[in-house]
């Protein structure tokens, strides 16, 4: 019983080592970029949008695309951000600023470029 309990305790301590080593390094602690990719990125855009309703969304493709969309929604609550261009107002979220001549869709008319790849479009054909 004593040996069993001792082995049990020692094995638990092994995993405790993992808990400590897997923790972020306190001497090089950096906050993640969630706020930068969401609230900070869309602060100016949010001020230009209505306070409630549904807006559309288009973005770049790639591995970060889904996360970018989720973070856009997170930032713009209580607006609902639908991943579709079929709305009167559509948010564009791209890694770099797109020149106005390279619009992702012919139906979309650029309303404002907020810089850093954040754009606001109007969809002339949306109902």
């Amino acid at each position: 019983m004593t040996i069993a309990t001792l082995i049990f305790i020692l094995c638990l301590l092994l995993s405790t080592v993992r808990i400590v080593t897997n923790a972020p390094n306190p001497t090089r602690l950096h906050t993640d970029n969630i706020a930068k990719r969401s609230d900070q990125r869309f602060a100016a855009l949010r001020a230009a949008l209505p306070s409630q309703g549904v807006v559309g969304y288009i973005g770049a493709s790639g591995s970060a695309a889904v996360g970018d969309y989720y973070l856009t929604q997170y930032a713009l609550v209580p607006l609902v951000v639908d991943y579709s261009p079929n709305h009167p107002l559509v948010i564009g979220n791209f890694p770099v600023s797109l020149p106005p001549t390279r619009l992702p869709s012919a139906h979309l008319q650029l309303v404002k470029d907020f810089g850093d790849g954040v754009l606001l479009f109007a969809n002339r054909d949306a109902k």
Binding site: A4, F8, C11, L12, R18, V20, N22, Q73, P78
Partner: protein
């Protein structure tokens, strides 16, 4: 400072609610720690229900509502106290440590190290990821909290089928509690959900430690507490601000309160001495579990079923005197039903339909596909040894080995509540199996990204039931028959 008043109100409301039925006085330190841990969870549960009902009814004066609820609980406490029998005092567990003193010191040191390591890791993770780690925090729980907080009269817009990836059908204990605190603060500060995530980790540990201390003594309590603290994925997931650790708290709270309900007075097996209030509190805990995540609804059903089947009074009670129908679990149902109605209201009038049962025809095909059974079984077997992300030696393997080494001393519990708890957990695990069978998602994807968390939901309860039964080289035999 703006958070001090709501925090005190939350904790105090939880404390009075827990104390309403607290008819036993256990050893002071363990009793206080247990009640404090339960108060935290129950307080948040009350806070979330109050906020949700305020949103539904359009009430904007939240502080008045909170103070009213607090006053009602306080009044109920004093009213019931004056009418109740004298609180029974329970003797501390007669602990006798058989092992060498150096082992006791090592265990105490190990527990302290595990606790410090867990706090260290949880704090650093919260600082590095104030919005949680992984996607679920900002894509589901905190997103819903923001809709509840920022949405004002249009809060229901957040539960639209236009954003199905946010799981708008998920229950609202966490989001509503977070939004409640944000309302007091006037800002959706990420510190609030981060702090709640941190506290849930250690409230679960405190609940486990204090309950084992009451039933078995300090050695099993430290072993059980260290087992949970030394589960790397438990600490990580709590810091991620996912709802799985809060859910594990309510699962454990239900099972602990069931056990308290059956705790005889100084080994007196007279069923008349059982306090129905503990059973009512267990129902409340199960209800809050259902209000936390959809898996909690499954657990609620299994705990009610298990209690109905197995809790029918001791064998000392003549069969003809045993309760009929469901009267023996009436206190449990009394607290389950209101929360069940609340959840039903939310599911019917606020949330869109969930995706799990969206295609009955395909569901039937999947249920009849033997390959799916095999895949899920293999994953269950694999995850059993990996879900905690332990270093080198999986703790379930350790526990199995410990059990086999001590099985001649382990007393199989005839305690009906113990067996009901085991049955409920087993049925919940089986329920998860069925959910994977019928999932509309890719099966491998779903298993890969959720099975670990499902096992973690049941882990604290499993540890509790394990250390309740096995000898630990010390500690009193488990209370009860």
């Amino acid at each position: 400072m703006a958070l001090v008043l709501p925090a005190l109100l939350c904790l105090a409301s939880g404390f009075w609610l827990v104390s309403l039925g607290w008819s036993r006085q256990y050893p002071l330190a363990s009793d206080l720690l247990l009640r404090a841990a339960l108060s935290f969870g129950f307080g948040l549960g009350i806070f979330s229900v109050v906020f949700f009902l305020a949103r539904v009814s359009g009430v904007t004066n939240l502080i008045a509502l909170d103070l009213l609820v607090f006053a009602l609980l306080l009044a109920s406490f004093f009213l019931l106290r004056t009418r109740a029998k004298t609180t029974a005092t329970i003797s501390p567990a007669k602990e006798k440590f058989d092992g060498p003193s150096w082992l006791h010191r090592i265990l105490t040191g190990a527990f302290a190290i595990a606790l410090c390591a867990a706090v260290y890791s949880a704090v650093l993770r919260a600082l590095a990821h104030p919005h949680g780690d992984g996607w679920d925090a900002f894509a589901i729980w905190n997103l819903h909290a923001r809709f509840l907080f920022r949405g004002d009269a249009h809060w229901r817009h957040g539960f639209t089928p236009l954003i199905p990836w946010s799981h708008p059908d998920y229950p609202l204990l966490l989001p509503a509690a977070v939004a409640h605190f944000w309302t007091f603060l006037g800002d959706d500060a990420p510190a609030v959900p981060a702090i709640l995530g941190f506290i849930f980790i250690f409230a679960t540990v405190a609940l486990l430690f204090s309950s084992l201390s009451i039933f078995r003594g300090s050695v099993p309590a430290m072993l059980g507490g260290a087992t949970l603290l030394a589960t790397p994925s438990f600490i990580a997931l709590g810091s991620w601000q996912y709802a799985d650790i809060p859910l594990s708290f309510f699962f454990l709270a239900t099972i602990v309160l069931l056990r308290l309900h059956d705790d005889p007075l100084d080994d007196d097996p007279d069923p008349a001495q059982r306090s129905p209030a503990f059973l009512a509190l267990a129902g409340l805990a199960a209800g809050f579990a259902a209000w936390t995540k959809n898996e909690g609804v499954l657990f609620l059903c299994t705990i009610v079923l298990a209690c109905y089947l197995l809790i029918r009074g001791s064998r000392a009670v003549p069969r003809e005197s045993r309760p009929r129908g469901a009267t023996h679990i009436a206190p449990l149902l009394l607290t389950v039903v209101p929360l069940f109605l609340l959840i039903s209201y939310f599911k019917h009038f606020v949330a869109p339909p969930g995706d799990l049962f969206s295609d009955p025809t395909t569901m039937l095909d999947k249920l009849l596909d033997p390959a799916r059974y095999w895949v899920i079984t293999k994953w269950y077997a694999k995850e059993f040894f990996r879900f905690g992300h332990w270093l080198l030696v999986p703790t379930p393997l350790l526990m199995l080995a410990y059990y086999f080494l001590t099985r001649h001393e382990t007393r199989a519990s005839r305690d009906s509540r113990y067996r009901a708890s085991i049955l409920a957990l087993a049925l919940t695990l089986a329920g998860y199996f069925v959910i994977y069978l019928i999932t509309p998602y890719d099966l491998y994807w779903h298993l890969r990204f959720s099975l670990t968390r499902l096992f973690l939901q049941l882990w604290p309860s499993t540890i509790f039931l394990f250390f309740l039964a096995v000898p630990c080289g010390a500690g009193a035999p488990a209370r009860g028959r």
